[in-house]
Symmetry: C2
Subunit: 261 residues, 2 copies
């Protein structure tokens, strides 16, 4: 924990949806020393707003098919409601923060996903991260709070996976400053037994990951997170940690959670 490190922390939708857990998380985020970027999702609130507006939602492999109306919903919920509530809460905790979507200052440029058989609609895959902008804002002693909405070069907004955004920012920033990437959510880490909250595996390397996958001893939803984690390490990120968002400082001190190495 020092001033010459960058922490990039993804916080999951289940924490955003729970006022008490979110408040605990934001308090420890605000107390963490060093330069910080927070990437948030917010899935359930978007699903609820879409339902209230009678906009049918379709999920494929856990990814939201984003038609034009759904894009408006996620832009409003992620870049509007959640982002500004988080920013205002952190400011009140004396942790001055600025909220950005990928469109702001051309922070994250993406392209509409091309898939051989599925039309994901307005879903974006990241092309580039504006590290100059991010460095300038961090230098102004601002925490950066990122909503998972990006843009392409024609001005089209795109819905983009928050885990991937955290990973892409981590990889790009690792060229400039030592980066620790934290995937924080409602679980204690990567669990050996998905029904036992106390079975977090303290450390996973590539060989163990391959073994766990082979033995089907790992929750399917965790596999893309771990793929992301290994890709980040390979691209120069110093440390990747997965664990409970309400235990942020213990996670970063290595007292809990799963370290990927």
């Amino acid at each position: 924990m020092n001033e010459n490190k960058l922490y990039i922390i993804k916080v999951g939708g289940n924490i955003i949806d729970d006022a008490t857990k979110l408040s605990t998380f934001l308090s420890s985020f605000s107390a963490l020393k060093g330069k910080k970027i927070l990437v948030h999702g917010g899935g359930k609130l978007a699903t609820k707003l879409a339902a209230d507006l009678s906009i049918p939602q379709q999920m494929v492999d856990g990814r939201r098919i984003t038609d034009a109306e759904t894009l408006k919903v996620v832009t409003m919920v992620y870049a509007g409601l959640i982002n500004k509530q988080v920013v205002a809460s952190l400011n009140a905790l004396n942790a001055p923060s600025i909220g950005l979507s990928g469109a702001d200052g051309n922070c994250i440029t993406a392209h509409k996903r091309v898939h051989p058989s599925i039309d994901f609609g307005f879903v974006g895959d990241v092309d580039s991260v504006n590290t100059n902008l991010i460095l300038s804002l961090l230098h102004m002693d601002l925490n950066i709070i990122i909503a998972p909405i990006t843009q392409d070069k024609t001005g089209q907004l795109l819905n983009t996976n928050a885990d991937t955004i955290a990973q892409e920012i981590a990889k790009a920033m690792a060229q400039h400053i030592p980066v620790t990437l934290v995937y924080s959510f409602e679980k204690k880490g990567v669990l050996q037994d998905v029904n036992d909250e106390n079975s977090a595996i303290p450390m996973i390397n590539r060989a163990l990951f391959d073994q766990l996958k082979k033995d089907k001893a790992i929750f399917a939803g965790m596999i893309p997170k771990l793929d992301n984690a290994f890709a980040a390490l390979q691209a120069g990120v110093e440390k990747v940690i997965i664990g409970d968002a309400t235990e942020l400082s213990a996670l970063i001190e290595g007292k809990t959670g799963t370290a990927i190495c």
Copy 2:
């Protein structure tokens, strides 16, 4: 039109609601030389979303009573949907832009309105503008696009009148850089005859304003705008112009619209 001037341009809700007019406005905004801040409203879209969600809306003297649910709606529509669509469009026009609410970077701090008889709910009156943040971002050659949502010191978001925000930013920035403040909307300026689009009064000074008010020769909705304009001039703003958002460059060159002096 030069690099050492700041243009603060408020664009009205009727322009935001009209895709063709908005596109014309954004093209001329992007072409305008100099440092630029855009403050947008977006009233009708918020009203429509509130109706779609069956959230009853109450207006008093043209101001929206903002209960907790309505605050969510305006935060989503102003700081989410409209702000990010405008930012992405300007980026695509090669005018790199960053979108902020008043919460971002503690840009605009406000307090919940105190009124002897009406409870406006979560409506904010501006206390201070973070000119350091704004100067730093302008120095990074970014246009700043402001959504009319502010925050108080406790982390409470507040709905705030966009005209007032434009005026408060103009007054604060005028201490640092020469400021031209433009109120742009769907009319040609302050009209002598509200039914005649071509009756814009080219110039209004304090004496003429008082006379127009006395004669009731001025549209009631225009009076707060003009009060704002005179307050801005008194606080050091160089020029205030009121006119048609689709004729932005002609407005700034003084070829059309109403100049307040």
